[in-house]
């Protein structure tokens, strides 16, 4: 290296976040003594405008060719300072960040130790930056097509918004119809508008929109490529019904001899083996559930009842799963939530007593198109005179899910209202805290209070039976009195939990998960819709429990994220990728199977491995495995990393 190395070091106070524990001026003074350092300064907020200007000026006036900022985690501000360097004409990769906040001031008690640690981190960064090389970002084109996975309200909203912008969108839904959980609800809090009335028009719009291709009974199997250029493989499960021929007349469902508990009705009613999940389904055409269809389960003697009654010949038992591929620039995952199974806690009596049901079952019970045509009755047909609603079943409980499921308080208020409206019963809500956090929610709570619902502040601890009647045991904590409340019907408001197949889905799309199992957003506040994989966005309850307004807002937001990528038309590709020195590569092929992205191939002619830089994500797995030192990830070369480690440890 011929050019003289001139480094500027900037130590940030981060208000009091760093300065409380780290003596920032002392660290700057120390840094100014280090080799190649031309200037070292400390400043209140390096990320502020004046802070950035400081660096810019120094680069120009002092002819700096390397910059070190000692501040926070690179996650948020590495791009900020990289841009600062670039705006002053310096390649953004000739810059290094030392994290003296998360790694130092926030986790070190003793100010003296913290200061010493900060010095070591800065020393290491200075030594490392010497070995940095200018790297250049490349641009790749963005495919304007978009994929939405999951046809609940969040996915529906996203698909409609994308389509309205004129982009093509494929909506992939696992079940035979879109609609998701919202389709199962009766009325919705806080306004009590009918769920189907506001959802169905949107579902129909999806079916009618020219820009939307709807694939129901389908699942994504594989995602290849990278932001802007994904190639997605989708499995269309054999529906056994030709959608082009089927008129949706429903005769097949009438005649089918096999009955199966209906998923949509939460087990309260039966459906047939050939079925449309609910009357407003989109598409309103059935699918054969091969697991239960007699034609498929019988070894001898076929059934063929539906085939025989179908007048248009739409039944096709020989249909096979079909794999289709779709190329798109961005993906929106909106796979929603599952519900906690309360039978794992026998104390709540679910599965042991007929008249202990879940909230979603009650939604179906009060619904006019539900199994009882909207009559709220006990199993034996009696109209309940006393009803208990238990909040927080499986939520806020370390034995099950420690998190709050957010929507259950409001849903419980809604159910209390509906229960009273339909039956005039005395209703008892057992709650721990009442969380009415949304717009109009507190007012809704007030309304329910005025309606005369009984509130018992204490979690329903146990449901048991006394003299043939259900009894809820709990403490009325506001009175400090133990109570046994006799009721006819118990509604358990169960936790929202990650979908049972969340692990698999996360893997397919390269999404991380938070401790609670839901999909993890890039930043809890500022990037709620992005994920660790560029170009893959999340919306709705797959990210965590939320109500319909929030799910819709996220669906629309994710559409905006995807569209902004598509509209830009091109995307920056990080230069931090693996590179192989062909002179050093021994051709051992160790690295080939290790790459999770299939980015390494073997050049048979030259007998060396080669990296496809567009596929490489720079994870470094290969570099760690290379025995001959031929593989390096740019910006994380052996030399750079080892120098940094040596300096951190040097005393």
């Amino acid at each position: 290296m011929l050019e003289e190395i001139r480094i500027g070091v900037y130590v940030c106070h981060c208000g009091s976040n760093i300065a409380d524990k780290v003596d920032c001026p002392a660290v700057a003074a120390y840094a100014s003594q280090l080799p190649h350092v031309v200037v070292a300064r400390d400043y209140q907020y390096m990320c502020s405008d004046p802070g950035q200007e400081l660096i810019r000026q120094d680069i120009k006036e002092l002819k700096l060719n390397r910059v070190v900022v000692a501040s926070c985690s690179p996650r948020m501000h590495e791009p900020t300072f990289r841009k600062v360097c670039e705006s002053a004409g310096l390649n953004g990769y000739l810059y290094e960040m030392a994290n003296i906040r998360e790694h130092c001031s926030w986790v070190t008690e003793d100010p003296q130790q913290a200061t010493e640690k900060a010095k070591a981190l800065v020393r290491a960064a200075v030594a490392r930056v010497v070995h940095h090389e200018p790297l250049f970002e490349r641009w790749a084109p963005v495919n304007p097509n978009i994929l939405v996975v999951g046809g609940g309200i969040a996915g529906i909203e996203a698909a409609l918004k994308v389509a309205a912008a004129g982009n093509k969108v494929w909506l992939v839904e696992k079940s035979p119809s879109i609609g998701g959980n919202m389709a199962r609800l009766d009325k919705t809090f806080p306004t009590l508008d009918c769920s189907a009335c506001i959802l169905t028009p949107k579902m129909v719009s999806v079916a009618q929109d020219e820009n939307i291709t709807l694939l129901t009974y389908a699942e994504v199997e594989q995602v290849e490529g990278y932001v802007g250029n994904f190639r997605v493989t989708i499995r269309k499960k054999a529906r056994s019904v030709d959608l082009n021929k089927c008129t949706g007349c429903g005769r097949c469902q009438e005649k089918c001899p096999v009955e199966v508990p209906s998923e949509f009705e939460a087990g309260l009613a039966m459906r047939k083996a050939i079925y449309t999940p609910f009357p407003q389904a989109v598409p309103n055409k059935p699918a054969i559930d091969r697991e239960h269809c007699r034609h498929f389960t019988r070894t001898k003697g076929k059934c063929r009842v539906c085939f025989n009654v179908c007048q248009v010949g739409a039944i096709d038992y020989d249909q096979e799963d079909e794999l289709v591929t779709y190329e798109c620039g961005a993906i929106i995952v909106a796979t929603g939530y599952g519900l906690f199974d309360p039978s794992v806690g026998p104390q709540w009596g679910y599965g042991r007593y007929d008249d202990v049901i879940t909230a979603i079952q009650f939604e179906r019970l009060v619904n006019a198109s539900g199994p009882t045509k909207g009559k709220v009755v006990c199993k034996d047909g009696r109209v309940p005179e006393r009803i208990a609603i238990l909040h927080c079943i499986g939520s806020r409980d370390e034995n099950y899910h420690p998190y709050c499921s957010r929507i259950c308080c409001m849903a419980s208020l809604k159910l209390a209202h509906l229960a009273r409206e339909k039956t005039g019963a005395e209703v008892y809500n057992f709650y721990i805290d009442l969380r009415a956090f949304g717009k109009g929610y507190e007012e809704f709570y007030n309304r329910i209070l005025e309606e005369g619902v009984n509130f018992i502040r204490g979690k329903g601890a146990e449901v048991t039976q006394k003299d043939g009647r259900l009894v809820v045991r709990g403490e009325d904590t506001l009175l400090g009195r133990y109570r046994e409340v006799p009721v006819d019907l118990v509604i358990l408001n169960t936790a929202l939990e990650p979908q049972p197949d969340a692990t698999k889905v996360a893997q397919i799309f390269g999404i991380q998960r938070s401790a609670d199992g839901f999909f993890l957003e890039s930043h809890p506040k500022l990037e709620p819709l992005k994920t660790a994989t560029d170009g893959v966005f999340i919306a709705g309850c797959c990210q965590g429990p939320k109500d319909i307004p929030d799910s819709v807002a996220q669906g629309a937001g994710a559409a905006a994220e995807a569209l902004s990528l598509a509209t830009a038309g091109k995307v920056k590709i990080s230069p931090v990728v693996a590179s192989i020195d062909p002179d050093l590569c021994s051709g051992c092929r160790m690295c080939l199977p290790l790459c999770p992205y299939g980015a390494i191939s073997f050049n048979e002619e030259k007998k060396v491995a080669e990296v496809n830089e567009t596929l490489c994500k720079g994870c470094g797995t290969c570099a760690a495995s290379c025995g001959s030192g031929a593989l390096n990830v740019r910006h994380f070369t052996r030399n750079q990393i080892l120098t940094q480690i040596e300096e951190v440890l040097a005393v």
Binding site: R396, E398, N399, G458, K459, G460, G474, E475, T477, G480
Partner: protein, 194 residues
């Protein structure tokens, strides 16, 4: 409980260090996480007999109401059934807290050994301390001597029945190495000083 008026809670009567003292007992470390949900009280089959429900006892512990807690009847109604512990959503070992409170009430003299419950536990402890094992006859005698020897008479028919069924041994069959049990008790007393 039975007072008809609720008076101002006198701040000077509170012991802010009480929660820390209870937390230092085995299994007490999580009491500050209690969200006062009442699952414990709703699960406790003795709640209805207690002067304060288990949840309320915990709230009082945290408020520093040492005198009220340690002289309460509630703690002597705990049968150690572990329902509260099994169900507490915050992982609080309330059964262990109840043990701690009984132990503190005895140790700091908040209860009289004339009362049946404290006398029973204390007598039990003494028998085990002496023999290393339970010996029902010694326990009954110890209990009667502490409380009211006439109680013994009340127990006699049942005891006699037990004896007839071969369920009561006249002489204790204790541990052979009683020295070791004594030494262990002393070790524990030393470790318990706080």
């Amino acid at each position: 409980m039975s007072t008809s008026t609720l008076e101002l809670l006198p701040e000077e009567g509170l012991e802010p260090g009480f929660a820390a003292q209870v937390a230092s007992y085995p299994g007490g470390e999580k009491i500050r996480r209690c969200i006062q949900c009442g699952t414990c009280s709703g699960s406790c089959q003795m709640s209805a007999d207690m002067d304060y429900t288990p949840r309320r006892i915990l709230a009082m512990v945290r408020a520093g109401m040492k005198k009220e807690v340690l002289s309460s009847q509630a703690i002597w109604y705990c049968a150690a059934c572990y329902y509260c512990t099994a169900r507490c959503p915050m992982g609080i070992k309330l059964t262990e807290v109840m043990f701690a409170l009984k132990s503190l009430a005895l140790k700091e003299g908040y209860v009289s050994l004339k009362q049946h419950s404290p006398a029973f536990y204390k007598s039990f402890y003494e028998v085990v301390e002496r023999y290393g094992r339970m010996h029902e006859a010694s326990l009954i005698i110890g209990l009667a001597l502490k409380t009211n020897p006439l109680d013994f008479v009340g127990l006699a028919p049942f005891g006699l029945n037990m004896f007839r069924k071969g369920k009561i041994e006249i002489l204790p069959h204790g541990v052979k190495n009683r020295q070791e049990i004594k030494a262990l008790v002393q070790q524990v007393q030393r470790l318990e000083v706080r």
